[in-house]
């Protein structure tokens, strides 16, 4: 369901609007985290929300990620719908105990009686010269935690609808926002309340020569590569996974079966990254259709470098996607 009118917004504005609507619609929704109140968040995503909805519903927490996640779990147990912010995804690590030991386990360990409708928002990823540990992409760590969902939007209008769906969801959802897209992506965003379903991948560009698969900040990189390839007469399909957990395997496999060639793109470290999961699913479900090995384009097996002069070598670029494409096409 999509509202009629639309304006051009960036991702910060779209997410802010979603939070505003959720707070207005459901009084159980709470927004909290470090610096989200008075300051409106270091990226201004929560700007104005405290002034509008009050300090009880939009509040600053002490500087303690494990505390934030633990608080969210308890609030959810008590019937609230917390939307917590972790200032940068690279600072989720102190909270991993709450996530791995508790957040994702409660429904299972209460045999379905206690679900935790928690949303955790966190900016992630590189491309904007942030200091050390501010550009981490920990989605694979989260995807490996049983019982949580992982959603990564790639545009403002998707972000708004997906976040509202995440807040309505009965299970814990990690909502990772690519820092590069915050102000770097603008699109028409419908006014008013609307949700977009979680757990669906999207074909964002059609093409028969090969399939590029990625999510979040990598979607625009894949589209750029597809554009260049098209100029050379090679039409490739681009798939935005959007929800990593639960993964829309049907759309993924169908897209790969159609082209027989696949390149998976992600900006985390290559080894054990989410792209490895995608490649494995393709091997399990579409091996008979493959005309070339699945190729990954990813970060290198090293910490994400804060070294501004060379950072761009780590984060996948359209040029690297094209090189991988060449490999699967010439195999």
């Amino acid at each position: 369901m999509v509202a009629e009118r639309a304006r051009v917004l960036n991702m910060v504005q779209a997410i802010n609007e979603a939070l505003d609507l959720a707070l207005a619609r459901d009084e159980r929704v709470l927004v909290f985290g470090e610096d989200v109140g008075r300051l409106g968040g270091v990226f201004r995503v929560t700007e104005g929300l405290q002034a509008k909805h009050g300090e009880a519903r939009v509040f600053d927490t002490p500087l303690a990620e494990s505390g934030i996640l633990g608080l969210a779990i308890g609030l959810a147990m008590g019937g609230m719908r917390p939307v917590a912010e972790i200032q940068f995804a690279g600072f989720l690590y102190p909270a991993l105990d709450q996530i791995l030991s508790h957040l994702g386990r409660w429904r299972h360990r209460s045999r379905g009686r206690v679900g935790l409708p928690v949303v955790v928002r966190a900016p992630y990823g590189g491309g904007v010269h942030t200091p050390e540990q501010h550009a981490d992409s920990p989605e694979a760590l989260l995807a490996h935690a049983p019982g949580v969902k992982v959603v990564i939007p790639s545009s403002p209008e998707r972000a708004k609808g997906l976040l509202l769906a995440a807040i309505e969801d009965e299970d814990p959802v990690f909502f990772l926002e690519a820092i590069k897209l915050y102000r770097g992506s603008r699109a028409e965003v419908p006014e008013g309340y609307y949700t977009l379903p979680l757990g669906r991948a999207r074909v964002v560009r059609e093409g028969g020569a090969a399939t590029l698969i990625g999510y979040g900040g990598m979607v625009e990189v894949m589209l750029e590569a597809a554009e260049v390839a098209a100029k050379e007469g090679v039409e490739v399909m681009v798939v935005d996974l959007e929800t990593l957990v639960p993964l829309d395997e049907d759309t993924l496999l169908e897209a790969v079966r159609e082209t027989g060639r696949a390149v998976v793109v992600y900006e985390a470290m290559r080894t054990g990254g989410f792209g490895a999961e995608v490649a494995a699913r393709i091997a399990e479900g579409a091996i008979d259709y493959l005309q070339a090995p699945v190729v990954r384009v990813a970060g290198y097996d090293a910490p994400y470098p804060p070294f501004s002069a060379i950072e761009h070598h780590y984060r996948p670029s359209a040029k690297r996607v094209l090189a991988a494409l060449r490999r699967v096409l010439t195999h």
Binding site: D60, L63, E65, P94, T271, S308, A309
Partner: protein, 346 residues
């Protein structure tokens, strides 16, 4: 019962020898000089994101100068003054803030570890480093530093408890500058003084006027002596203020008032100390001028040194991940060295 805030300058007391006093002032002046230059360089695009410490010189330099040669500092990102006073060369510090890999390799002999970005993780590590000294028959003391906001993290509490339990020779400096980015202390905790918490772990807690260099220095010296004698850790809370934004990408006008900033500007630790020196005939305009000329010259030399370091090589991204490169790093390294990416050379 309120803890007493240790302070000397406002009471007109000055229990320091001339040598010590001048060393303290020079180090603070040098730190301020660096901070101002760094902010300017950042504005010119010649430095990355930078975390200024202006206003916190007394707290950092006071602790640094209270340490002995073999002691270590385990700092956080705002501790450039601590690092400078510990002997980190200016050009290395500039390269660090330039986000250049060469700024990550501190010279041999500088007893300081790289500043930490994740909050509070350094606290338990400092305890481990202190205990390592004991195992190795060395009597080094470790000074580690954290902000008021950082004391909310679990690691802070675990680290303090460990230090007390193992009687580790650690000085925990809390630079209570009143804010964790935008969150004021009163929203961070419901204790008036962080040093109060020390008692709960079983160690002494001391509150000092963090803008009084004499107070910080003398209290830090006591804590270091205690640690060295085997009497265990101390929590030293320095009440201070950062006169600048949280980082060069922050806008403090969103969360604090001009008036508040002005009140603290009047308590500028550098000016306060300088006035005390002048009152005792230990400093004057002429010496200040000489010092500034020296600092200017030193900085220019060090900046030129930093500028002469070549641009990082792309392959440095995968260097030093392991003692010996694994096959994945090796393959990437070869590609990057040829100016290519791994996808192109497979």
């Amino acid at each position: 019962m309120k803890p007493k805030v240790v302070q000397y300058l406002d009471k007109g007391e000055f229990p320091l020898g001339e040598g010590e006093a001048l060393a303290l002032y020079r180090a603070m002046r040098r730190a301020r000089f660096f901070d101002e230059k760094a902010v300017t360089l950042q504005r010119q695009g010649r430095l990355g994101v930078y975390a200024p410490f202006m206003g916190q010189e007394a707290a950092q330099v006071g602790v640094a100068l209270a340490l002995g040669e073999k002691d270590f500092v385990v700092p956080s990102y705002r501790e450039s003054a601590l690092l400078l006073a510990r002997g980190l060369p200016i050009h290395t510090l500039l390269l660090y803030w330039r986000a250049h890999p060469a700024g990550w390799r501190f010279p041999e002999g500088v007893r300081a570890v790289n500043p930490y970005i994740p909050i509070a993780t350094q606290i338990p590590q400092a305890v481990g480093l202190a205990l390592a000294g004991r195992y190795r028959g060395e009597d080094w003391v470790v000074a580690t530093s954290i902000g008021d906001g950082g004391t909310s993290e679990g690691d802070f509490h675990e680290g303090l408890n460990f230090a007390a339990v193992f009687n580790a020779p650690v000085l925990f400096l809390v630079q209570n500058n009143g804010y964790a980015i935008s969150v004021p202390r009163a929203k961070q905790m419901r204790v008036d003084y962080i040093a109060r918490r020390a008692e709960g772990y079983g160690m002494p807690g001391v509150v000092v006027d963090g803008n009084d260099a004499v107070a910080v220095y003398l209290e830090a010296k006591k804590a270091v002596e205690r640690a060295r004698k085997g009497e265990g850790p101390t929590l030293l809370e320095a009440l201070t203020y950062r006169l600048a934004p949280h980082t060069t990408s922050d806008d403090p006008s969103r969360y604090r008032t001009r008036e508040e900033e002005e009140t603290w500007r009047a308590k500028d630790p550098l000016l306060r100390f300088r006035r005390a020196l002048e009152a005792r005939g230990l400093w004057d305009e002429e010496r200040e001028g000489e010092l500034l000329a020296q600092l200017e010259e030193e900085f220019a030399r060090e900046l030129a040194l930093a500028d002469s370091v070549p641009e990082p090589r792309p392959e440095e991204i995968v260097e030093h991940v392991y003692a010996e490169m694994g096959p994945d790093q090796r393959r990437a390294w070869e590609a990057l060295r040829q100016g290519r990416h791994v996808e192109e050379v497979w």
